[in-house]
Structures are given as C-alpha cells and as structure tokens.
Symmetry: C2
Subunit: 295 residues, 2 copies
C-alpha cells in the first residue's frame, strides 16, 4: 500500500532536517501549527512515532531518520527533475516527431537531416503514412499536411508552401508528339490514376471529370508506383513539378492549371507550439522552403 500524503512526508523531512517545528515552518512557508498537524497525521498514518517531542524541538527517532533519508533522496530527485524540465522547455533536445504524407518524403528528409546535424541534442523521428497522425494525442510535434486547411481545434496551422501538380508522360509514350497536347485531345489519352480517387484533391476530380474511366488504364496506391508507371510509358499522370523535374525522360504535356496546386500546411498542437524545439524546427522548415522554388 502506497502513501497517500507526500506533502506530509515533505514536512516531516524538513522537521527532521532542521530539528525544530518552527524552523521547518519558516522554510516551508507555513504556520508552525500546520507542521505539527502534518507530523501528527503522518505518525498516525504510519503507526510509528517519528519524533521525540521536547521543549527544545523535535529529534527524529530511528524511524524518523529513516524517513529523512528517503525524503532527502526524493527531494534531490525532484529538484533534478525540475531543473531538467525547465531546461528542456528552453533547449532543443529530446525527441522531435515530424509527420507528413509519404509523397513529401524526398523533400523533407534532407531538410530534417540538416536540422538534426545543426541540433545534435535532438533525435528526429520522421514518420510518414497515409493515416492522419493526431497531434492532440501526442503522436507528433509537427505535421506537414496537404490539401485544404486543417481546422481542428487546438491545432495551430500555418501556411507553408505550394506543391504544383502537373500532367507528365514519358518520351517513349509521346513518341515525338509535340507538347503541349491540345486540351480537347486529352480525354483520348491513356492515364495513370490513383487507387483511392475518393480524395478531394482538385487534380483527382479533374481527372474523374475529363477522362473516361476506361482510359484510366492503371491505378497505384502510392506516389512511387505512379511515378514508375509513367516513366515506363503507360500514359499520362499527375506528378509534382519538383519531382518530375528530376527526370529527363518525363515531359510536361500541358500547361499546369493553378487549381491543380495543393497547398501545404504546417500544423502543430497548441500545447507544444510555444516550445523552443518546435519553434526551431518550424523556422528551419521555413528557411528550407526558399531553396525549393517549387513554382
């Protein structure tokens, strides 16, 4: 059975340490009557006399000395804990969990690596996935989200950047045809689509509206498989401009429409947003975006 009254132990600790009720009361910032009541209650609780009372003060019995040693250790532990926690709030150390959709991994991974090297005390966990990680459950410190602005309560949302999506095809598929392809010929082309087209992303809906379902000849569940299929020449498909620019064999087939652009959002939980660690990673992410020139 554990002890129910830690404050009483703390009171007894100071009485044992100082030897007098009055001295302990002054240190504790309470009235000496309160100290006496705490001691009486604690002795009753433990069923043991902790102190010998006399007019010159309280002297600890063996039990009281035992308690004093334990409480001494506890006090040290708590003091260390407090300074540790205070320091932690102002320093960039410990774990830092960043989450985003898997498609942004090639962009974010180097940036996070830079951040870790600039802050050796921090351990970065970069976790990607289609599932939405919930900041209010403490699953992540920072989330990079795409699409419409998140509006969950207790989440502080900042506009981050914009990912321009565009239609690409491989040179093999085009076979020397000139780009841009006229818009009215697009429904006749073959397309690479996404598995879960129920997403409300604008370029998804454009494809569903313009392209006959029979012309969407293949679907993939993740960005990488889509990319590889397009490069293999299966047909047209949406890719981020920054990613397609890395491949010589990909050709932009039409001028990208502004409504295809997907905004990115930096999301943090309000409880963690003020901490130095989160502020540091946010600042680093904002600096990095300038070198991306995604437009």
């Amino acid at each position: 059975m554990s002890i129910d009254a830690w404050d009483e132990i703390r009171t007894a600790y100071h009485v044992a340490r100082l030897g007098t009720v009055s001295g302990a009361a002054e240190v504790l910032g309470v009235h000496h009557a309160t100290v006496i009541r705490h001691i009486d209650a604690l002795e009753k609780r433990l069923g043991t006399k902790l102190f010998q009372r006399h007019a010159r003060g309280y002297t600890a019995t063996e039990a009281g000395q035992d308690l004093m040693q334990v409480a001494q250790a506890t006090d040290d532990q708590f003091t260390q804990l407090a300074s540790r926690l205070r320091g932690r709030g102002d320093s960039v150390t410990g774990e830092l969990v960043v989450t985003s959709i898997e498609a942004l991994s090639p962009l974010l991974s180097p940036v996070l690596a830079e951040f870790q090297m600039a802050n050796p005390g921090v351990t970065v966990r970069f976790v990607t996935g289609d599932r939405v990680f919930r900041l209010e459950y403490g699953e992540a410190h920072v989330a990079i989200r795409a699409g419409t602005a998140p509006n969950e309560p207790d989440n502080v949302v900042q506009r981050y950047s914009t990912v321009q999506m565009a239609l690409y095809a491989s040179r093999d598929y085009l076979g020397g045809r000139a780009v841009p392809i006229p818009e009215d010929e697009l429904p006749g082309e073959k397309f690479m689509g996404y598995e879960n087209m129920d997403s409300r992303a604008p370029f998804y809906r454009w494809m569903e509206d313009i392209v006959p379902r029979s012309n969407i000849v293949m679907r993939g569940s993740d960005g990488r498989s889509v990319k590889h299929a397009i490069r293999a020449g299966i047909g047209l498909g949406f890719m981020a401009t920054w990613e397609a620019a890395r491949y010589e064999d990909l050709v932009q087939v039409v001028e990208p429409k502004p409504e295809w652009a997907a905004p990115l959002w930096l999301v943090t939980h309000v409880d963690l947003h003020r901490t130095a660690k989160v502020q540091a990673i946010l600042a680093h992410l904002k600096t990095a975006v300038d070198s991306w020139n995604l437009t």
Copy 2:
C-alpha cells in the same frame, strides 16, 4: 530550488500512469476537478506542459513521462519505507540504547548480553555515566535510575528492584573484632566516603550525620575506587550487598538499615514505551531481577 508541492507530483504521476483524469481521480479518492487543478498548477509551477489534453484523456509529453518515471521511483521508495516502519514497530531490531549509573554495570551487562543473544537483530548500546541521559532527547530507550522516583513528564516510570546498601570493612581493618559493632561505637571508626556527598542518597546523609568529618579519611568519586579502598583496609564504607557478597575479605559490620536501601527505577519515554523493542527489553530486565535475590 526544490519542489514545493509533492502531492501535485503524485497526482500527475497517477494521471500519467492511467492516462485519464477520471481514472486518476478515482484511484486518488478525490474529485476529478481536483486532479485537473493539480495538473494545471504543476505545469504552471514547472513552466512545462506535462500532458496533451484531449477528449480521450491525458497523454504524457516527454516531460510528463520523465516526471512519471521519477514519481514511480518515489512511490516505490515510500511504499518500502512505510512497510519498513510498520514492521519496525512490531519487531525487535535496530539499535537499543540502555543507560544506567556506572555502579550497576556489573549487574546489567550480563543481562543485556543475554538479551542481545536472544534477539540477534538488535544492537545493544549500554552507556553508563554519572550524567543523566535525557530520554526526551532520544539519547536512550531505557534508563535504569537509582534513588527517588523520577517525576519528569512524558517519562513512564516503573519500580524495578532495590539495592540494599550496607557498611563493610575488610578483615584486616577489623583485626578480629566481633561484628556487629555496637552502633554507638561507629562514630569512632574510620570511614571511606564519596567525593560528591551532596547527593541526597539516604546512606550518604546517615554518614554525614553520624560520622565526624575528620573520620572520613578518604573519599572516592566512583564505586570501584571506594571498593578497592575498603578492601585495602582503610576503614568502613558503604557498598551494595550484592557486590560485597562477592568478596570473602569483606565483612558486614552492622545490620543494614532499611532506609539505606536505594530503589531502582525503569524509565522509558512515553513515545517509545509502547514499541515492541522496548517492551521486550523491559520484560527481559524484569525476568533477570528474580535471579539476583538482592535482599
């Protein structure tokens, strides 16, 4: 700077352990509003968010997990302490300090040795001295006092035994004279006295009243020196009957008067009197007195 509110840490510990405010409140036996207030106060005190709040409960941040580990250790320590203290009250272990006047040392020392051998868990400290050891300062558990009944408050006093004092002389000093010596001849004898005759012991006062100061030819400050002087033949002197009986060369010169008897008292502090350890040594001492047959 140390933490002022250990109970709040205890509350936070159970919240971190259980994950919900309600669960912690039930375990702690308080209202859940109290738990929320404790957490808020502690976070303000530490300047760190300890928990992420959401509708499913509280999840601990890194700081909260750190605190939980420290508090876990503390809880274990306190639990061990409590069982240790509870057990200590019922068992005969640890230190046992017994004090008495130095003159009783030959009688008490073997008895205490027996007690220690019967209770291997206890360490006996037998401290003798003319100074009165103060039980209320925790200087001793049990004191064996001689003379008038102690009447200090908070001390529980029990009648123990009686030491009969009597007048002895060596056979050499008597030179074959018959005993008892008539009482009216006693003032003419030589006497061995005590250094501090201001003591109120009855036999001291008898000697001061009856014997001319010029006949008190030597004084000693402790019982041993008095004993040796008497055996050396310097004159008559007071010794305890139990001690004088050990020496063949000592002769009781007059019938001992009842008023020379010095009562012995067992004195304990009220705070310690109820403990099993003190009760055990008291019982042992009372048993031993039967084998002394001091009368």
